[in-house]
């Protein structure tokens, strides 16, 4: 800050370098593993950088040839996109009216607090009845069933984010529109929702990331390519008898790519969302 001796400056740069290495080394290693020939990864002493980078595993995993390793992976990729997409849309659709209602009518706020308190529930406390219920409905191993279950996680979170978003839009703007004769839904559609677009986008991204990350319910409620998500497919690879560690790393890179890109591009919005959460609880 104010006084900065050369010694202090040196200390700063060494610490910063250390932090950068701690953060980057594991991630870079994941990528290096994905492009190293299998022989390099099994070499002793270990080869830290491949002589000839080998990108073929990406082609292997993304191929859609029947019964190939890629077929299972691309199926899980599609399932993850479908489940996360549907769950996000549904969560936002529930969150907009509920978030607005709580924002404008604080007297019913306790109901949202109750919904948010369910965050404390460990998923195992709901898992058995959800399993039996989905089985009863014939929705085990089904992307719709899984998306429905994901609402347990996504809906409380998005509603709370939307509510804080609506809180920052002045009521007076809505009142003015209504004074001019606009009905409630017209006011919301023309005035409020366009102003709430940024917070809606942030909420949707958070919801998508949460769903993309989910593992426990997907592990329990899916069993094959029809519904298995990426996280389950990767856990299968990691726990299975795959002898090529590079292939596991490649799957990891591909699964991490969307959230990492979203994270980097949307940094500012995500951080302010996270820290608002941190401050307001």
């Amino acid at each position: 800050m104010e006084r900065k001796s050369p010694l202090f400056a040196a200390f700063l740069y060494v610490s910063a370098l250390l932090l950068a290495v701690v953060i980057l080394a594991p991630i870079l290693w994941l990528f290096v593993m994905s492009i190293s020939p299998a022989a390099d990864l099994a070499a002793k002493p270990l080869r830290w950088w491949p002589e000839t980078p080998d990108f073929s595993r990406y082609a292997t995993l993304l191929s859609t040839l029947e019964n190939s390793a890629g077929a299972a992976f691309t199926a899980s990729l599609r399932n993850s996109l479908e489940v996360a997409g549907m769950a996000t849309l549904a969560a936002i659709a529930l969150a907009i009216p509920a978030g607005w209602a709580v924002s404008r009518t604080p007297s019913i706020g306790w109901s949202l607090s109750l919904v948010i308190a369910t965050y404390m529930l460990p998923p195992v406390a709901l898992a058995v009845p959800l399993y039996m219920g989905l089985a009863h409905l014939g929705m085990l191993n089904n992307v719709f069933g899984l998306a429905l279950v994901y609402l347990t996680i996504l809906a409380p979170f998005t509603t709370w984010l939307m509510k804080s978003g609506f809180d920052s839009i002045p009521k007076e703007i809505e009142a003015a529109a209504m004074m001019d004769g606009a009905g409630l839904f017209q006011t919301l559609r023309i005035i409020t929702l366009p102003l709430a677009m940024p917070v809606m986008a942030t909420s949707a991204l958070f919801a998508f990331l949460l769903a993309w990350d989910e593992f426990f319910y997907a592990l329990l409620f899916t069993s094959d390519q029809r519904a298995k998500t990426l996280t389950v497919a990767i856990a299968d690879l990691a726990g299975g008898r795959v002898s090529d560690y590079g292939l596991i790393a490649t799957a990891g890179v591909l699964a991490a790519l969307p959230p990492v890109l979203i994270g980097l591009v949307m940094q500012r919005a995500l951080i302010s969302g996270l820290t608002n959460g941190g401050v307001k609880g």
Binding site: L12, L19, P26, A98, M120, A256, I262, G278
Partner: protein, 294 residues
């Protein structure tokens, strides 16, 4: 417009959310409570009413007690380490130096990495035959022979905690950094003029601003650490010799591997009770911290 009309309208707008939440959370929770008093299996019979037998059996079992201790160790050590590392990183990022923006952007990477990918990555790093940790330590001369970090009961839990910390301390750092940036410059300047040293300044000028947000981060991280499942399932499945079998893994085994839905449900509710008590206790602390910071 009248108050009752507003309230009725608000409830109507809440209705879709409430209906869905009752269907996917409320009903399953009530059903879990019901199941916990029966000897129901996961498939087939509904089971007989057995009163509190499941609870008594679970609370008395050595498996539960051991899992509780393992979970507490995992939660306390990883969250404490995340808090300390997070605040240190935030203090660093709050300084002026070249590349600060880039470094701050990098902090989002571990947070964005899916939990399962993080677990898989560290599982590969810890691999007993080809892992990078063994290779790096032997090449640096710090280790004589390759070790099975996740395969030995003595190191498995520590290895898991390191992997968990690496993913989560950057989030604490970002929250702490936002709080640090809210500390008014003139206050730190004034404390400098008054001759406050760096530690006095941290304790009395900066910490009050950090306390509230950090307490909230502490609560959320502790609750999550207490519920931990994913990272452990992918890295060790609770092994070796059950040395990393946390409560969530134990419930999973009871209810789904052994298909004992009744006793699994009672165990799940015991875990829920622990988390709730923790959260309430912390909640009181947060209010206190928020009160003293204001």
């Amino acid at each position: 417009m009248s108050g009752t009309f507003m309230t009725t309208r608000a409830w109507a707008l809440m209705l879709p959310l409430l209906v869905v939440m009752i269907a996917v959370i409320g009903w399953p929770l009530v059903d879990t409570v019901g199941l916990s008093f029966t000897d129901a299996k996961l498939v087939g019979t509904a089971g007989q009413f057995v009163g509190f037998e499941n609870y008594a059996k679970m609370l008395a079992s050595a498996n539960f007690q051991r899992s509780l201790i393992i979970t507490a160790m995992f939660a306390v050590i990883s969250v404490a380490a995340e808090m300390v590392l997070g605040v240190l990183a935030a203090l660093l990022l709050n300084q002026d130096f070249k590349g600060r923006g880039v470094l701050r952007a990098l902090m989002i990477l571990p947070w964005a990495l899916p939990t399962v990918v993080n677990a898989t990555l560290w599982r590969l790093i810890y691999n007993p035959e080809y892992g990078a940790l063994n290779a790096a330590l032997t090449q640096l001369g710090l280790l004589d022979a390759y070790r099975s970090w996740l395969g030995e009961p003595g190191t498995a839990l520590t290895a898991l905690i390191v992997a968990d910390c690496w993913k989560n301390f950057p989030l604490v750092a970002l929250i702490a950094l936002a709080a640090l940036q809210a500390v008014p410059r003139d206050i730190t300047a004034a404390s400098l003029v008054d001759g406050a040293g760096p530690f006095t300044r941290f304790r009395f000028v900066i910490l009050p601003y950090l306390a509230g947000p950090l307490m909230v981060a502490l609560v959320l991280r502790t609750i999550e650490a207490f519920k931990v499942f994913d990272i452990i399932w992918v890295m060790t499945r609770g092994g070796p010799a059950n040395s990393t079998r946390t409560l969530s893994i134990l419930v999973y085994q009871e209810a789904f591997s052994f298909q004992r839905a009744g006793s699994g449900a009672s165990l799940a509710l015991i875990v829920t009770l622990f988390v709730t008590v923790l959260a309430l206790a912390y909640g009181a602390l947060v209010r206190k911290a928020a009160g003293s910071a204001a």
